[in-house]
Symmetry: D2
Subunit: 257 residues, 4 copies
Amino acid sequence: MTNEDTLIIGGKKLKNRLFLGTGKYGDHRVMEEAIKHAATQVVTVAMRRVDFENEEEDIVRLIPDNIILMPNTSGARTAEEAIRIARLARASGLGNWVKIEVISDQKYLLPDNQETLKATDTLVKEGFVVLPYMSPDLMAGKRMIEAGAEVVMPLGSPIGSNRGIRMKEMIQMMIDELSVPIIVDAGIGKPSEAAEAMEMGADAVLVNTAIATAGDPVQMARAFDLAVKAGRISYLSGFGSTSLKAQASSPLTGFLD
Amino acid sequence: MTNEDTLIIGGKKLKNRLFLGTGKYGDHRVMEEAIKHAATQVVTVAMRRVDFENEEEDIVRLIPDNIILMPNTSGARTAEEAIRIARLARASGLGNWVKIEVISDQKYLLPDNQETLKATDTLVKEGFVVLPYMSPDLMAGKRMIEAGAEVVMPLGSPIGSNRGIRMKEMIQMMIDELSVPIIVDAGIGKPSEAAEAMEMGADAVLVNTAIATAGDPVQMARAFDLAVKAGRISYLSGFGSTSLKAQASSPLTGFLD
Amino acid sequence: MTNEDTLIIGGKKLKNRLFLGTGKYGDHRVMEEAIKHAATQVVTVAMRRVDFENEEEDIVRLIPDNIILMPNTSGARTAEEAIRIARLARASGLGNWVKIEVISDQKYLLPDNQETLKATDTLVKEGFVVLPYMSPDLMAGKRMIEAGAEVVMPLGSPIGSNRGIRMKEMIQMMIDELSVPIIVDAGIGKPSEAAEAMEMGADAVLVNTAIATAGDPVQMARAFDLAVKAGRISYLSGFGSTSLKAQASSPLTGFLD
Amino acid sequence: MTNEDTLIIGGKKLKNRLFLGTGKYGDHRVMEEAIKHAATQVVTVAMRRVDFENEEEDIVRLIPDNIILMPNTSGARTAEEAIRIARLARASGLGNWVKIEVISDQKYLLPDNQETLKATDTLVKEGFVVLPYMSPDLMAGKRMIEAGAEVVMPLGSPIGSNRGIRMKEMIQMMIDELSVPIIVDAGIGKPSEAAEAMEMGADAVLVNTAIATAGDPVQMARAFDLAVKAGRISYLSGFGSTSLKAQASSPLTGFLD
């Protein structure tokens, strides 16, 4: 069954549904190992962290060739800024995928859906594969899709908070109603939460802080890989029903009667 | 790291922390496959379901030899009944492990901690490796240990309800305070919930209904195996801290300034 | 203390923080009694339910004179439709308050923040006191305020679902960050949930289904009145701290030592 | 309706369902005011805090005559100690009600159900009205009742933690299945949580830390009084049903069609 379970984004067939962020790693070698142990196929990098002049320090050169690089527009506060960053990324040879982040709130770092929609609209027309990071909102998700978004990426809870899927109610409605893949991005702090997102029917999750700030990031990456697979396989397998009362495993006649 | 991560119960070294129940399977072949895909090393069987006269139908003969059989006293309503069932199991050649279940409540099938403690006390003295199934209660857990229980098995929610770890608060206190392995038994309905139990620090989980009543029990068994491993590995790796506010992945100076 | 605790909206001083909806009542007399027992000062009525030709059946005539009538644009699927309904309401002598509802999703009845913002912008310029009903989203809330919204009304969970405050995370951020009153509207199913919204710091709640479909709507209205007051008073009183461990009420030296 | 809604314990008819503890108050006058504003009819006092030799400081003399005094055995680590404290209380003229607390765990202060049961059994035979404080456990509750407990008092979460009703699952089962009044005691930190306990069907709640450590304990006492009444009235009124989808307040045909 799972051999054929692929996720298609921007024409690429993906088998692994755990995407990784690259911020907050104390050490580049650890990040490389974490990427490997997560068995990830898509990695996001903030354009502002790309150091084109210093090859030694360039984070992009650390990403293996077989992994899709998804530059993000972190640092953009308006649609216009996000658009400029996206163009710069493509011009720099980083491909045509872009994760749009437009954030002007400095406390919770919540995305601005309206500006994100504007940037999505423009960049889709310019031929980008656009993956908008957004506050969970069903109607805003519909508009992202109308504008040509390849997927939608609702946040589980504020970036880096490790608080899990606090916006479950709205994310479930998005999963149930929207026609593109849903990638839960931000807030996932533990493998169980990644598994839960997949059990809800999400198509993928993006994890950064939970792995980068773990005691052992490499083992944590491996744990997330297993959890995402567990969640996906179980979702496809079909859950038994839940009940308020107990359901005996076998007839309740006394054994010794 | 995980090569050495073993759980020792009754002198046996276990590498796999997912225990399985054997009730509710529609078909014996499916159960055999599920056991295999769960990579389980311990399986529990209700003594009342053992059919000594009909070898063809005997559930015990379906369990591979390398798997530890843990007969349970399901159907017992008193300590005395549980003790008799345990003795019968050992006399039948099923080994000296016994999971004690004493249940007189017919609606929620909640275990009776007081009678369970009595049975534990007696059976430990008779040389059994006793694993009591119990309502989560820190003080009752302490007494089970004083009586010689090898582990304690608090329920997450009522048997067969698939409602998850509803007794989290008390189970966490048991994990933090008790000196024997904690196995969360009953109520776990999804792989994410099994992972969560392991992330809380549980030593193992026992799953039955969630797998046996899944659309595809064999794939669901595999998903639970992955989830338990994910939870365990992440627990050992050390979680990053959670925060109410967002934590940026990189400095928040505007990229284009 | 609470004598002076007033909420000011559109220049009106309100002492009571429970707003009521008028849908789903089986009987007009019950609705009148519920309004009275809720001690409410603001009531919302769907313009489409106003029957200008049949005085006998006109819901508006049932609302006591001392209560502020807030017509809503229920049934509008676009900003334009909401604007037309609002103008019609004012022209009909229903005052200049308007609760904007723009809903095109027929399953979850989720508001469309983008169209709602457009309608808010236009109607504020036309002199209305605008109270937009919206999906919880901090940045969208900021824009509503920039457009001149008098308050923002995020939903707790889908209209009529009685599921409580499922969007707690985002609503708390809106309460903490936004400069206008926050009224939690939709989804509140029990008095405890209304109290919780007030404890979180919401300025008011709007309740309809939970009262209208209760076994005894009049008593339920009274219960909600008490709960909203309880939540508000406790919020103003200042909560003690929470802790993971127990905190003894008195020194733990043994009494009998 | 509510005029006749009384709770009978030990032959006393109670109209108010909020019981108070007397620990942790910074000032005796504040405690007196809080008791008054909570409209409470039952107050518990730790026997070890009763100062028989110093009338000026004696907490018991501060409790108004029309309030039932319920001495508690706080400080007892065994059944025997609890029994001695109870006898001492009665011999001192504090009446024949006793709340049994037997706690040997010093971190979470969790009650010891087994010792509590022993003390209950003995004290009931000696004519006390016994109200056992216990860890939530349906079967242990049944035994308390068999031993003659007048009510059972399961904890919501550890004493003084202000964490709310974390043991909801088990408390709901106790409410549904047990034949005596259920009083949720310990852990309730906010009025909404008290309301929730009453909505679940609890017969009363006991609150101490949340009021005593509030910024304004007197107003907080008033808030709890309102919340308990709100929860009780709503429970008696009958809740409308909840649903996963939205339920429109009126027909969803467009208004302007």
